[in-house]
Symmetry: C2
């Protein structure tokens, strides 16, 4: 089942059920006005939504043509946005890039940060950059959307709380990171609003590609029209989403609609390219002594998508332009 | 105007208008079912709520007796919880306590962290502690609740976006902090659910005590029935709420209902006591070579309140007990 949110009339948008090919949709209806409302009462609402999806898929309901430009992020505002950093290759490269050592517990203790979730960007919304010196970068990621998840959930049970999956562009202002981290309180100004894919899908939509809490597909990033990378999101995700759920629930519970990200998808094989410019800059530094790729500037475009073995675009395409503001 | 949220029937509770003495209330009504709904449309809803408050105050509406036990936090779940650390004395003491240096930009660049906001505690909810070795501590704070606040708001304009004030107990697991900060991504497991005061009040309720983005009143913490501290929340708040708003909006905007905390209220004058046990432990270490006050354990109680010059309890009393779980 593929879900999305049209912008308006309220702040949380309007929940729609989308046909598998992404071309047509049907509103979920007044009883399930928003995705948050569906997540708040998932046991009751999921079957209703699945019935609608089946009728749309079979052609019993024709639905309406979908205009991706009109989509909000699946959750236009969310109660939490927790972002992991589960790809070891990314951590090692980015820390090298800022002259920092990887943490000693790199492979045993997941890294997560708490991001801002009150203002999220839709799949086609511009990234507004106020100052190019801030070093704007994209970060292509896979995310899950949780249902109510109790404290001290173990990884073996974590699958029960994963309602939906989507993609994210975890926009980062690289040049603001070092000073923030030096202060010791984590990222704040360096992480402006994150953008999400058009569609959030139930795990079964991924078929065999959803396995052990990982998505075994390539995540493709296209920067200014050229392929930047298409790393495999599965095998090198050192901590699976199940591990991340166990980690984040160690001391507290999470409410339905919590967004949990994988961190920048990254492969050790350089042929797979990159999912953020910081990695490319580090590779340039290692190979040529200095970075030559600049960070993003006004007019740049970034597209992020994930296509399955049959060539089907699962989550729709994040496609953003940088504008000054 | 004094607002609060009764628990249920939905996840966001039921908005009520509370009489100034805290004894009686009237529901805001179906058109403004929750505090979030009021904040989402504040320009229209505030006058309606004020009219109700006036009628309750004058006795034109009798209202119903208020049972604080039935209160949720003013926002049972919020879109962001951003917590500053604006009292220099607290930063210096707590960093000493963990053998860390204060950041170089201590007095020029505010410290804030992004906290979890999907699950918040009501004023009388237990603090569930799973493991005493985690080093449970309270942190008594003042907070503001923001309306929609645009990116790059300057401190001179910040007052326009401050809708309400309340108190918080920013529960902290001290012994989990050092490892988390060593990883560089900020607090996460070390900050379980935060508790909030019964009432959120409009700034005018504070009269002259609300000045320059600071609350010029004493914040009283009572630990296991004994006064722990009653520091002045005003003069030593190095960064005012206006400064904090300017800081957090440097690179992004915030949605209505964002909670912004002051950080632990702390005075250099030791006679004013403490608003968290970490400070007391550090003072013991400085004076006697080692901390002797243990962190909180099952059965402990913490109360936090703020009383004005006329002896009026403004925000109601946070009163929590630690239980194992």
């Amino acid at each position: 089942m593929k879900l999305a949110s049209l912008r308006g009339p309220g702040r949380d948008g309007t929940l729609i059920v989308v046909r598998r090919d992404g071309a047509r949709y049907v509103p979920a209806g007044a009883a399930i006005p928003t995705l948050q409302a569906a997540l708040d009462d998932w046991e009751a609402k999921e079957p209703e939504l699945r019935r609608l999806a089946d009728r749309l898929e079979s052609g019993e309901i024709a639905g309406e043509p979908l205009d991706v430009q009109k989509l909000a992020p699946p959750l236009p505002r969310a109660y939490e946005w927790v972002d992991g950093s589960a790809y070891i290759n990314h951590i090692v490269l980015v820390r090298k890039a800022r002259g920092a050592e990887p943490p000693e517990t790199l492979r045993t203790d997941p890294l997560v940060y708490q991001g801002g979730s009150g203002v999220l960007l839709g799949p086609r919304e511009d990234i507004v950059l106020h100052d190019e010196r801030w070093g704007l970068d994209f970060e292509a990621e896979v995310c899950v959307i949780l249902g109510d998840t109790p404290a001290r959930t173990k990884k073996d049970e974590a699958h029960r709380f994963i309602r939906l999956l989507c993609l994210a562009n975890d926009v980062t202002l690289r040049n603001l990171v070092p000073n923030e981290l030096a202060k010791g309180f984590g990222f704040f100004n360096s992480k402006p609003a994150t953008a999400f894919s058009p569609f959030a899908v139930t795990p079964d939509e991924l078929g065999d590609a959803w396995k052990d809490g990982r998505v075994h597909l390539k995540l493709r990033s296209t920067y200014n029209g050229a392929l930047a990378g298409d790393p495999e999101a599965g095998p090198e995700m050192h901590f699976s989403f199940f591990d991340l759920v166990e980690h984040i629930t160690k001391t507290r519970s999470f409410t339905a609609g919590t967004l949990l990200g994988s961190g920048t998808v990254s492969n050790a094989d350089r042929a797979r390219g990159i999912s953020c410019l910081a990695e490319r800059r580090m590779i340039e530094t290692l190979d040529e002594g200095a970075p030559k790729t600049p960070f993003m500037k006004a007019g740049d475009t970034i597209a992020i998508e994930m296509v399955d073995g049959q060539g089907r675009d699962i989550f729709g395409r994040i496609e953003q332009k940088v504008v000054t503001g």
